[in-house]
Symmetry: C4
Subunit: 252 residues, 4 copies
């Protein structure tokens, strides 16, 4: 079988669209942010991406109907305020380095076909301790884009992230640069120990202001409160051991 | 060499056949059930599937004659009661995710060529404790098939299996859905600690009634009794440690 | 680069040749036996097999000259007594299952081109304890060949090897059967803990009688004495721990 | 995507150039030496080599601008003293054996196109203890080259390195020999525990004299002093445990 198979339910036309990627990673910050964005935009699914680089697995829904694990593409057409948006979400990233390269390259090929103007990849920046007010750090394909993002409130901090950016959030940037596209990674600070809606909210607040999208954050906020409740209870029971430093640099 | 090489000893013609898959997995429930089915049907082997995704190994029979490890296809033509049946059994599943995808895709291609109407994949559902009366849980490619299977006594239970279905039993379903085929997974409850003829019997009883095949279960029952004897003796000696939860969701 | 690249220094013509394989494995029994055979025959190297399935490594000889790790083919033309012989030796087997299949398939393709009549694969049969008089067990592609080998003194013992035969010694047999060639595996009993010239001698004595080759075993015998000396000294110092059963079934 | 993608910013013409390779490995000796060489020569970058064999990762510079991890080629044209030089450096070697073979083969193909006369690969030779005056050991594709290098002060020592040479420094030699090119590996002795500028200096002193390049070593020397300071402080605190012997043979 082909290693990557994209099946399109429709072939929308785009006008200088923006791609937003949010796949699983540290604290699932990127995934939560992208999923909340597509919920708020009531975005339309238009493609399923299947791949032998994903786990050999189906998920089963509440009615007993299965779905092969995949990545999915959604769109939300320009509404006068925000531009055409394409959103990439999914349950998994590729299981191998080669798979991660191939899958990201596949997305970049599609971006070139659609005339994508900018790619935003969303991720978490694991810092190994609880964060009250998560900062949103950035990295980008050029100095010009870095300056543009600074003006929007994204923080560019020398030596952060020191270990680079791995996975789709990194590769989409790296391959964008190779192919001459413009791309930005937005990384929300997170402990890295829990699924982190607070980090996702921080990332999405900045992205929403850049894209001129209105977002109701109440869902993410109530999720964040639940996590806060759980973690504060855990803290009462035990003081966590010192995190291993190498676990913290991963950015999904 | 080709990564998958199927060698056909004959090329039977089929009329809307049903494929039944039973490869190694949790408790070897699927394998035992499919092998018992083909014994009872006196099914005819018509293909050997070799693959570099399998272990690099031969098995040696009692006379010293070797066989390269493989998967095998058997058929049993319609007899007025049951429809044309094709049965897939074997010693191994693919060793890698990519191998598992390729092998399942290979089977799906053959199914499309033969006009397969429905695929039944058989497996075990590991629950981490001894089961007196194993239930048979199901998952399927569509809501319609789910309803049909409920009417036959298959149990569809919200949140079971929570971790999805991995391996051939999952992929054949997932790829069936992608290619527009109809497929069902039947999962017999099993502890997951032993080869489990009781789980296999439960699965095969339901499948036999769906396919309108008459089965003599005495062989499986006597195997089950032997296992019961062994496990009850083991229980006298020691109380098993609490199973790790992540070991139990696998369904082969 | 090609995954397997064979470079021939000459293209000898063969008359119904016999291929003998001896690659690294349990006790290096097969490797030692095949290397001793080619020394005794003063066989001529005619091909180097390089592969990205081997380790990414060069070996350095005593003068500082390197060689990329490889497998090698030697021949010894018929001398009125023995038939045309081709001998396959090398430092490594393929690192992955896929690599092992591809490399064995490559050899089988060459065998078909040369009209090879029979393949003998040589290996060790690890039994986890010291052996005074190693038996030579066999496995073959057909009942007829099994009978023929029994008549030559090869032992075929029900349930041995129970775990099958892995690696090149197994795959060359398995693929021979798939492609309609005739092949035999000769396995010398060995503890599996040391490089074992005694097991190699046992295997080579039987092979030499089958092939009608005269061999001087004094080199192997003196190597065996050295190993005996070392192991008896080790025995004085410590009683070895009970070997893990799963380590013993490997046959290279 | 292609597994290896080289992007050339210019296509320089070369006259019997020498290729120098210095990729990460034991003590990063080869990498440090090659990078210092290209700094001193003010060499010009003319190609980026990207590959799905590298980690799926971008690095982020101090300004927040990313770069996909890669290997890079630099050149320095002949200046009347030294010949045309091509220098290969990078952050990573291939992650898999197959990747290492493919990447080295890719370089060898380029070398053949450019008419490369000799390849020098630079690496560290880990000896598991501190070295005051690191020797520079050699290995080469032929006896003639070994003699030539001996005359230049390279040490060829029987049985060193006993475990062969792995990674790009080994493969470029091995493949050179297969394709009929001439190549030398220069290995600077190093403990193997630290990044080792002293080993790099030793290697580069010999290489510079062979290539007739003038090098200012003050940068490497001051780095070496810093490392000496750190290690002598560490020694005060603790005596390191006996190194595992198998860790020491690696040569990058």
């Amino acid at each position: 079988m082909e290693k990557i198979k994209s099946i399109f339910s429709e072939q929308p036309q785009f006008d200088a669209p923006i791609l937003v990627e949010g796949l699983p990673g540290v604290g699932n910050v990127g995934k939560l942010a992208a999923e909340h964005l597509l919920d708020q935009l009531k975005a339309t699914k238009f493609a399923d991406i299947y791949s032998s680089y994903f786990p050999p697995q189906v998920v089963v829904d509440e009615e007993g109907v299965i779905k092969l694990v995949n990545n999915e593409l959604y769109y939300s057409k320009a509404d006068g305020k925000h531009p055409d948006l394409i959103i990439l979400v999914g349950d998994y990233q590729g299981l191998t380095p080669e798979g991660q390269y191939d899958l990201s390259d596949h997305i970049i090929q599609l971006c070139q076909r659609w005339g994508v103007k900018t790619i935003f990849t969303l991720g978490g920046y694991g810092i190994g301790k609880m964060v009250e007010q998560p900062r949103v750090l950035g990295a980008a394909t050029s100095k010009e884009v870095v300056e543009e993002m600074k003006a929007k409130g994204v923080i560019f901090s020398k030596g952060e992230p020191g270990s680079g950016i791995v996975g789709a959030s990194g590769l989409l940037l790296g391959l964008s640069k190779v192919y001459g596209l413009q791309a930005v990674c937005l990384m929300g600070e997170t402990s890295g120990y829990f699924v982190d809606p607070k980090g996702a909210e921080a990332v999405l607040r900045i992205l929403a202001s850049i894209l001129n999208v209105e977002i109701d954050f109440s869902d993410l906020e109530s999720k964040a409160e639940q996590i806060d409740l759980i973690t504060s209870k855990l803290k009462e029971i035990e003081t966590p051991a010192e995190p291993k430093r190498e676990d913290l640099g991963y950015i999904g």
